[in-house]
C-alpha cells in the first residue's frame, strides 16, 4: 500500500524565483496495483516516483510506503527501506559498467535483500526469468539496449521488492524492444502480485495500464503558489 497525503516539496534553489513547488493533495495505490503516471515533461512524475522510493523527502505531508511513514525514518533506515521494498528501473538502465550482468543483479541483492544467502543462485534464476540465462557473464557494454534493460529489471526483481518503480523504462528503446520490456514488467508484476508504478510519456503504453494518474498541475512556480495561498477565499 502506498499513500501520499498533502505532500509538498520545493524543487530547485530554495528562495530563488526559479524554484518550483510540488504539491500533491492525495495519491493512493493498493498492493499489487499497476499505475501509469502520465503528464507533460516537468509535471512532477519522476518527483512523485522519487518520493515513493524515498530518494526525495517531502517538506510537508505524509508519505507512507509498505507500512512505513517515510518521514519518520532516518537516512540509513530510508535507504534500507528502499532496498527492501522498492525495485527501481530507469530510462538509461543505470547498470554498473565494471560488473557483469550477474554481478549487477547480485549487487541489487547485496544492499536490498532480506537475506544474503545464495545470492548468485537467486540472481541467476532471475536473469533466467527475464530471458538472459545465457548472458549472465556479459558486461553491460556487451549487451544490447534491450538486454541492458532486462538486466535492470532483473536487478529490481531480485530482492523480492513488493513495489516496482519504473521511470520511463522504454524511453531509450526502439518501439519493438520497448513493447517487449513493457510486457515483461507487466508480466512479472502480475505474476508476483507486485505493485507497479510506471512513468511514461507514451500514451499507447499508458493506455495498456489498468490505471492512470495524470500528474499535470502538480508542479507550479513558487511565486504562483504563494499568490494562490495568500489570495482571499
Amino acid at each position: 500500500m502506498i499513500r501520499l497525503k498533502e505532500v509538498s516539496l520545493r524543487l530547485g534553489n530554495a528562495g530563488r524565483s526559479s524554484s518550483v513547488l510540488f504539491h500533491l493533495p492525495s495519491f493512493e495505490v493498493e498492493a499489487g496495483e499497476a499505475v501509469a503516471l502520465t503528464g507533460p515533461s516537468g509535471c512532477g512524475k519522476s518527483t512523485l516516483l522519487n518520493l515513493i522510493a524515498g530518494l526525495r523527502r517531502a517538506d510537508q505531508g505524509q508519505v507512507e510506503v509498505a507500512g512505513s511513514d517515510l518521514e519518520k525514518l532516518n537516512s540509513a533506515q530510508l535507504d534500507r527501506h528502499r532496498g527492501m521494498h522498492c525495485g527501481m528501473v530507469f530510462q538509461t538502465f543505470h547498470l554498473l559498467a565494471p560488473f557483469t550482468a550477474l554481478e549487477n543483479v547480485v549487487i541489487g541483492l547485496r544492499f536490498g535483500a532480506r537475506t544474503r544467502s545464495k545470492l548468485k543462485e537467486k540472481a541467476t534464476e532471475v536473469l533466467d526469468r527475464v530471458g538472459l540465462g545465457d548472458r549472465i557473464h556479459a558486461r553491460p557494454h556487451r549487451l544490447s539496449v534491450g538486454e541492458r534493460q532486462r538486466v535492470a529489471i532483473a536487478r529490481a526483481l531480485v530482492g523480492d521488492a513488493s513495489i516496482l518503480l519504473a521511470d520511463e523504462p522504454t524511453g531509450s528503446l526502439d518501439p519493438e524492444t520497448g513493447q517487449e520490456v513493457f510486457h515483461l514488467l507487466r508480466e512479472v508484476a502480475e505474476e508476483d502480485r507486485r505493485t507497479l508504478i510506471l512513468v511514461t510519456h507514451d500514451p499507447a503504453l499508458a493506455s495498456k495500464m489498468p490505471r492512470h494518474f495524470d500528474c499535470s498541475g502538480l508542479v507550479r512556480s513558487a511565486s504562483t503558489a504563494a499568490r494562490k495561498e495568500n489570495s482571499p477565499r
Partner: protein
C-alpha cells in the same frame, strides 16, 4: 559481493590510473624502505666491525683514518709504531688480546695484512672465537697466508695456491709485483660479515722481509749505509681488546702519553663518522623519500577524488538500490586503502628487492654484509605512517560521497 571485491573491481576497471597511483606510492615507499634499511644495516655492520676492538693504536694522525685503515681496510695508515710497543701491550695484564697490523701490499686490490698468529684468537663479545676457518689452518711460517672469505670467493684461490703481492694498498696498473716472494694459501676464513672478509692475513715477518729486502737494495744502489740504523721493526697499527672495556678512554690516554703515536676507541670514531658525515646525507635522502611519499599520498587523494567524481552516477545507483551513505563511503574508502596497501607492498618489494640485488656489489665495495629483507623498527613505523597518510587521503573522497544526495546524480549518464 563484499566491499573489498567491489572496490577491487572498480580499481581493475580503471586499471591504468590505478596502476599509476600504485606505482607512485610504491616508488616513495621503496625509497623510504631502501634508505632506512640501508642506514640500519650499515650502522649495524659498521658497529659490528668497530665493536670488535676496544682500542686501536697507531702512528700520529687522524683517529678516524687510523680506524678506517686498520679496522675497515679502506684508508691509508697514519704512520707506524715501534713493534716494541706491541710487545709491551702483550705483557700488560689489563689487555685481554692484542694483534699488530702491518700494511704495505695488496693482491687483486685486497690488502695483505701482516699480523701474528694470535690474531685469530680474537674473541667476540660473547667470548666465543670470532674467526672460524672454512678450510685449512692458521699461518705458521713466513709467506703462508689465510684468505678472508670474500677474497677467496673473488680470486678463486684455493688451499695450496700461490700468488705474488703487489706493492701498495690499492691495485694500481704498473705497480711493482714482489715476484721474489710468493705467498701460499694455507687457510680460508668463514664469512664474518665484516671488513675482515676482504683481507689477506699473513705473518708480519713476511711484510718486513719483503720491504727490508727492497730497502736494502734501495740503499745499496744509493751507496748508503743506513741499513744498520733502520733495524727497529715497526707495525702500522695495534688492535687491542681490554679485559675491562670501561678502561678504554683511560688506556687510550695512557698510550698517547707513553708512545709516539695515538690510540682511539674505534666505535666512538665510527659513531662520530656516522653522525657527522653519513647521517646528514641519509637525512637528505629521507627528506626526498618523504616528499615522494607525500606526493604519492596526494596522488591517491586526487585519483580517488576524480574517481568519486566520475562515479557520482554509480554511487547514486548504489544508493537507489538501498546502499546507505556509510556503505558507499566505506566502498570508496576501501578503494583508497587497496591503492595504498598495494603501493606499500609493491614498494616494500621494490625497496628490499633492490637492496637484495645490490647487496653483492655493496659487500664487494664496502665489505659490509647486508641483510636486505630485514626490516628495522623505524621502517615499520614509517610504513605505518605512510599507511595512515593513505587512509587520510582516502577519507576525503569517502566523505564527499557520504555527503552526496543520490537524486542529484541519478540523471547523469555514463
Amino acid at each position: 559481493m563484499s566491499f573489498l571485491s567491489m572496490a577491487w573491481r572498480y580499481l581493475r576497471f580503471r586499471w591504468l590510473v590505478s596502476l599509476l597511483t600504485i606505482s607512485g606510492v610504491a616508488v616513495g615507499v621503496a625509497l623510504v624502505c631502501a634508505v632506512l634499511a640501508l642506514r640500519h644495516e650499515s650502522e649495524r655492520a659498521l658497529s659490528r666491525d668497530a665493536g670488535l676492538y676496544d682500542l686501536v693504536a697507531g702512528g700520529k694522525g687522524s683517529p678516524l683514518q687510523l680506524v678506517l685503515s686498520s679496522v675497515y681496510h679502506i684508508d691509508s695508515p697514519t704512520g707506524n709504531l715501534p713493534y716494541a710497543d706491541f710487545e709491551r701491550f702483550q705483557r700488560d695484564p689489563r689487555i685481554l688480546w692484542s694483534a699488530p697490523v702491518g700494511l704495505g701490499d695488496n693482491y687483486a686490490g685486497y690488502r695483505i695484512v701482516g699480523t701474528e698468529t694470535q690474531f685469530f684468537d680474537l674473541p667476540d663479545r660473547q667470548a666465543k672465537p670470532f674467526f672460524q676457518f672454512a678450510q685449512g689452518r692458521r699461518f705458521e711460517e713466513r709467506f703462508e697466508v689465510v684468505l678472508g672469505s670474500q677474497v677467496a670467493q673473488s680470486t678463486r684461490l684455493e688451499i695450496g695456491d700461490t700468488f705474488f703481492g703487489t706493492h701498495g694498498l690499492v691495485e694500481v696498473p704498473g705497480a711493482e709485483v714482489h715476484r721474489d716472494f710468493p705467498y701460499r694459501v694455507c687457510g680460508i676464513l668463514a664469512p664474518t660479515g665484516t671488513a675482515q672478509d676482504r683481507a689477506i692475513f699473513g705473518t708480519l715477518a713476511s711484510v718486513w722481509e719483503i720491504h727490508e729486502t727492497e730497502d736494502r737494495l734501495h740503499y745499496a744502489i744509493q751507496g748508503s749505509a743506513l741499513l744498520e740504523g733502520r733495524q727497529e721493526r715497526e707495525t702500522t697499527a695495534i688492535l687491542i681488546r681490554l679485559k675491562t672495556p670501561g678502561l678504554r678512554l683511560w688506556m687510550a690516554d695512557e698510550i698517547r702519553k707513553g708512545t709516539d703515536g695515538i690510540a682511539t676507541v674505534p666505535i666512538n670514531e665510527i659513531l662520530r663518522f656516522q653522525r657527522g658525515i653519513i647521517g646528514p646525507a641519509q637525512k637528505a635522502l629521507l627528506t626526498v623519500a618523504s616528499a615522494v611519499v607525500g606526493v604519492a599520498c596526494l596522488t591517491v587523494l586526487i585519483t580517488l577524488h576524480q574517481a568519486a567524481e566520475r562515479r557520482r552516477r554509480d554511487i547514486a545507483i548504489l544508493r537507489s538500490l538501498g546502499a546507505n551513505r556509510r556503505e558507499v563511503a566505506v566502498l570508496v574508502f576501501t578503494e583508497g586503502l587497496l591503492l595504498t596497501g598495494a603501493g606499500i607492498l609493491l614498494g616494500l618489494l621494490l625497496g628490499h628487492g633492490g637492496l637484495a640485488l645490490g647487496a653483492g656489489t655493496f659487500r664487494e665495495t664496502t665489505g659490509l654484509l647486508l641483510y636486505p629483507w630485514r626490516m628495522p623498527t623505524l621502517e615499520l613505523a614509517a610504513l605505518g605512517a605512510i599507511g595512515i597518510c593513505g587512509a587520510i587521503a582516502s577519507l576525503f573522497p569517502a566523505i564527499s560521497c557520504y555527503r552526496r544526495t543520490p537524486i542529484d546524480d541519478l540523471h547523469l549518464t555514463e
